[in-house]
């Protein structure tokens, strides 16, 4: 056990975690030259396409130093704000963390928030300034920032480049020297903490765990303490590039287990694995994940609901941060109200459903979770506009607020102030980190930042601002339900919850956008936005007068058939609401208002 080191790599988004991981894997010959690609751990299609890490990855390496071979269990974590939950799960399985800071960017918002998470978990922190090969590297400044932030000595900060490989050896040595070996009793009752799980269509569910005490062996009869279920350990092993079966995994180490479980709900991340014989106690579980935004997901074709349910179950096992419950919509039928960590997460779930599970789905207008109090003082959690009580029965509504931390160059303070005030924010703190870098703290409604805040922030500061947020509390607010009517028929799936001061403008833009997205039909379509009975915006789509092409001779036949077949495919992705055909993307029109 003395030779084991469990650590993760944490940083602000894009500061080079996955690239540095590549070098560590290369240097320790965990991955052969031929298998090596850039960001080799980002193995999901979506990760490679978007160039970001979505899911944290665990991998084991061996490193020889002074005649001793060490076992490193590395977890690469995602940097995007939406996935800070993934980071917190990874941290619980480790004794140390490499905290990377991009030499050209310095400390950013997630550097700070991830650092605090690591400190909360009592991890040994190794600060690394990364990307020092770049022209814009500001090594002395960034050193100062780090010393200020974590109170370390300057000499403790390592310099590296994940691109060129500078400093990799020093990092590997520091891992051995500075990160404590795990403690725990190999012979004590088994306590293994599940920190991740994936679904494999051949093998069922594969759970990743960190053994804190005891030993888990192939063939053991095991128990998941929180769910109370028992299984046999069909296979245990370590996580190399791919799964590597072993006879046992001992205290201090990280491994996987396959039990033949097929049902997603049986494996809970945060649960503790023990043996049925001489069982251990539950390790303190992780914080339950808190979804930030909610949206409906419905099958495009109503009959596909059961299939979708199946896929959601599987996806949830792969992504424990996804929550969902059954929802019915008048317009869309049966589907799910899903909770997401943020809009990126929502987009990823939708894309994964489409690509990995071959489901065509409709995603509806996202919203945050409100609390409504009725006149009889009942408290109702409103995750869906449909759950909002009628105005006559409504006493008051509260909406979630967050604390937003923005780090920027002082030149942009003015722009950021204007932006945040327009988003109903109030400035609560302003700290100069250096003479030119300032940290601004705002209290703002969550609903204002989930939509287009991040893009606006980037454009207002030319990218020189980073942003992080933490939930604060619920506050009384004048939220109204805005409905959309198509030919006078209310479309529940398009309703939105919005602050009264925003409703008019929002309604107008949404109607305009829908006008663009809805195909013309043989009759006029009226698009209206309404609050209660009051119409606040309206657009018309005039009737299609004709749809017939003149000629249909020799070569026209193929061309025209292909054109119409394409239209037909598009139509299969539409939903009929009343007499109006609504394409899939129209339900998310609200996210495209500024395009």
């Amino acid at each position: 056990m003395k030779q084991i080191r469990n650590f993760c790599i944490i940083a602000h988004i894009d500061h080079g975690k996955s690239t540095l991981a590549d070098r560590l894997l290369e240097h320790t010959k965990t991955v052969g030259e031929r298998e090596m690609t850039n960001q080799v751990l980002d193995d999901m299609d979506l990760e490679r396409e978007k160039g970001i890490t979505i899911k944290s990855k665990a991998i084991q390496m061996e490193y020889a130093m002074n005649g001793t071979t060490y076992i490193f269990n590395l977890i690469d974590t995602p940097g995007h704000v939406d996935f800070s939950y993934e980071v917190s799960r990874a941290l619980a399985a480790c004794e140390g963390a490499l905290l990377l800071v991009d030499a050209t960017q310095g400390i950013q918002a997630q550097t700070i928030s991830n650092l605090y998470l690591a400190i909360d978990n009592n991890l040994e922190i190794i600060p690394v300034i990364n990307k020092i090969d770049m022209d814009g590297a500001m090594i002395p400044e960034v050193k100062d920032q780090i010393v200020d932030l974590i109170g370390c000595k300057e000499e403790e900060i390592l310099l590296a480049s994940g691109k060129t490989g500078i400093g990799i050896e020093e990092i590997l040595q520091a891992i051995v020297d500075r990160i404590p070996a795990p403690t725990g009793e190999v012979t004590a009752p088994l306590q293994a903490l599940i920190f991740d799980s994936v679904f494999n269509s051949f093998r069922g569910i594969i759970a990743y765990y960190r053994v804190f005490n005891g030993t888990i062996k192939k063939g053991d009869k095991i128990k998941f303490i929180n769910t109370g279920q028992t299984y046999y350990a069909d296979e245990v092993g370590k996580l190399g590039i791919g799964l590597q079966p072993t006879k046992e995994v001992k205290a201090g180490d990280v491994g996987y287990i396959i039990t033949g479980i097929k049902n997603a709900k049986e494996v809970k991340v945060g649960d503790t694995i023990t043996l049925t014989e001489n069982p251990g106690t539950s390790i303190k579980g992780f914080e339950e994940v808190k979804p930030m935004v909610f949206a409906g997901i419905f099958p495009v074709v109503t009959e596909d609901f059961e299939e979708l349910r199946d896929c959601m179950d599987k996806l949830q096992l792969n992504d424990a941060s996804l929550t969902y419950e059954l929802e019915t919509s008048q317009a869309l039928g049966f589907g799910f109200r899903c909770g997401f960590l943020g809009l990126l997460h929502m987009e990823i779930i939708q894309e994964r459903l489409e690509r990995e599970f071959n489901q065509t789905v409709i995603t509806t207008v996202p919203n945050v979770s409100f609390i409504a109090y009725t006149t009889r003082d009942e408290k109702i959690i409103v995750n869906n506009p449909g759950q909002m009580p009628e105005t006559t029965k409504l006493d008051r509504i509260e909406e979630p607020f967050i604390r937003a931390q923005i780090i920027t160059q002082s030149d942009y303070t003015g722009n950021i102030m204007t932006l945040c005030l327009s988003k109903r924010g109030t400035l609560t703190n302003q700290t100069y980190l250096t003479q030119t870098r300032v940290e601004l703290t705002f209290e703002m409604p969550l609903t204002e930042i989930v939509f287009d805040f991040y893009d606006k922030l980037k454009s207002q500061t030319r990218g020189y601002a980073s942003f992080d947020y933490t939930p604060l509390d619920y506050r009384a607010s004048d939220i109204v339900k805005m409905d959309i009517l198509l030919n006078n028929e209310k479309v529940d799936a398009l309703s939105a919850l919005i602050h009264r001061s925003r409703a008019q403008d929002f309604g107008r833009k949404l109607c305009e956008k829908l006008k663009e997205l809805l195909p013309r039909q043989q009759f006029q379509i009226a698009i209206q936005a309404a609050i209660g009975a009051k119409i606040i915006a309206r657009e018309n789509i005039s009737a299609m007068r004709k749809d017939v092409t003149a000629k249909c001779y020799g070569g026209d036949i193929s061309r025209k058939r292909k054109l119409l077949e394409k239209q037909k495919e598009g139509k299969k992705r539409m939903r009929q609401i009343g007499n109006v055909e609504v394409p899939q993307e129209a339900f998310l029109a609200v996210l495209k208002l500024d395009e």
């Binding site: 299609m544 004709k546 017939v548 092409t549 000629k551 249909c552 070569g555 036949i557 193929s558 037909k568």
Partner: protein, 355 residues
């Protein structure tokens, strides 16, 4: 160019022998019953080339003695001299691209010929004894009022032609017309007006003894275009020349490369410039729906069922239900037909009925 087309005619002389004979709704005719020179303005070709082309085809293929041989011609290419050569070649039907008898309208369409050429060309052809004539007319254009459209139809009728192809002008993206309209240089087309002119056309046809036998084709009894009808009956056809399309009467459609120089080069090298497409079952079903719905006779449910099975037919009828309810399609004597209202939306309805 003509050399290359002649080469292609030679290379592909077994085309109709390969066509499977019995898979069709109608039997593959063992002989060639129609020849058509189209796809632009073949009338600008020197007359002796046309003679040569037709002669070669007759030498290579079993052309029926009474075959319909049509030439597409611009009014300004029609001269007594040209007519004589065409007739010598064996052309017995003309499709004249008159488009309109209104000067302003012709100018908007950027046509080379004048109003008087439009009328005279027909008379010249008739005087030469080439009286099997079809006129192309275009409606719904900006300067064509309702009454001017009716004037155009009357003029065609007065000239005594027995066949009309009437098209609503579609402005294709990336064309000169499209750009002019986009830049506001000329007025755009008005779909409302096109739809109205289409109605006027249908009324006029009924009152003047023309049968509206296909969405854009009308004829007096006995004067349908035999050539075009064969496209719609699913008969095999061989297309020669750049971008010409061929169909084997079964599941293979093929077409020549578009570029003239490349076509010439490839043929001269002794190769064919063809791209081929195999129709899936769905493609074939969709084609039949799309084509037959456009015809007055409608979509023949019995032959549909015979070819694609009962399940496909039932599915088709289920998909047709809304259009029947809304009065755009009627189901009569085992045929699905577009109603007058439905004809305005033929493409849309076909799409709805696609599998």
């Amino acid at each position: 160019m003509v050399d290359s087309i002649l080469l292609e005619a030679r290379y592909r002389k077994d085309f109709f022998q390969q066509a499977p004979a019995d898979t069709l709704i109608l039997k593959t005719p063992p002989t060639i019953s129609t020849i058509y020179f189209g796809g632009g303005t073949p009338s600008i070709l020197p007359g002796d080339w046309i003679i040569q082309l037709i002669q070669t085809i007759k030498d290579l293929y079993p052309v029926e003695p009474a075959a319909e041989i049509t030439l597409e011609a611009n009014p300004d290419d029609i001269t007594p001299n040209a007519l004589e050569q065409w007739q010598t070649a064996g052309v017995n039907r003309l499709s004249i691209g008159v488009q309109s008898f209104i000067q302003e309208d012709l100018k908007w369409m950027n046509r080379a010929h004048t109003t008087s050429q439009a009328g005279n060309s027909v008379i010249l052809a008739q005087q030469a004894g080439l009286s099997n004539i079809s006129l192309d007319l275009i409606y719904g254009t900006p300067y064509l009022t309702d009454s001017l459209w009716l004037d155009n139809l009357k003029k065609a009728n007065d000239l005594g032609v027995d066949h009309l192809s009437a098209y609503a002008l579609t402005v294709e993206p990336r064309t000169a017309l499209f750009k002019l309209i986009e830049r506001g240089k000329i007025p755009p087309v008005d779909p409302e007006k096109q739809s109205r002119h289409f109605d006027l056309l249908m009324d006029w046809a009924g009152q003047n003894g023309f049968e509206h036998y296909e969405i854009s084709n009308l004829s007096r009894p006995g004067h349908k275009s035999r050539h075009n009808s064969s496209y719609w009956q699913g008969l095999p056809y061989l297309g020669l020349g750049p971008s010409a399309h061929s169909y084997d009467g079964d599941v293979t459609r093929s077409w020549n490369i578009e570029s003239n120089p490349l076509y010439i080069k490839i043929l001269k090298q002794g190769n064919l410039a063809l791209t081929e497409e195999k129709l899936s079952l769905e493609n074939s079903i969709n084609e039949m729906i799309m084509i037959q719905l456009r015809m007055l006779t409608g979509l023949d449910l019995l032959s549909f069922e015979q070819r694609f099975g009962k399940a496909a037919k039932d599915k088709l009828l289920e998909l047709a239900e809304p259009a029947i309810t809304s009065g755009q399609v009627i189901c009569l004597q085992d045929h699905l037909r577009l109603t007058r209202k439905g004809k305005h939306f033929a493409d849309h309805i076909a799409m709805e009925l696609f599998v």
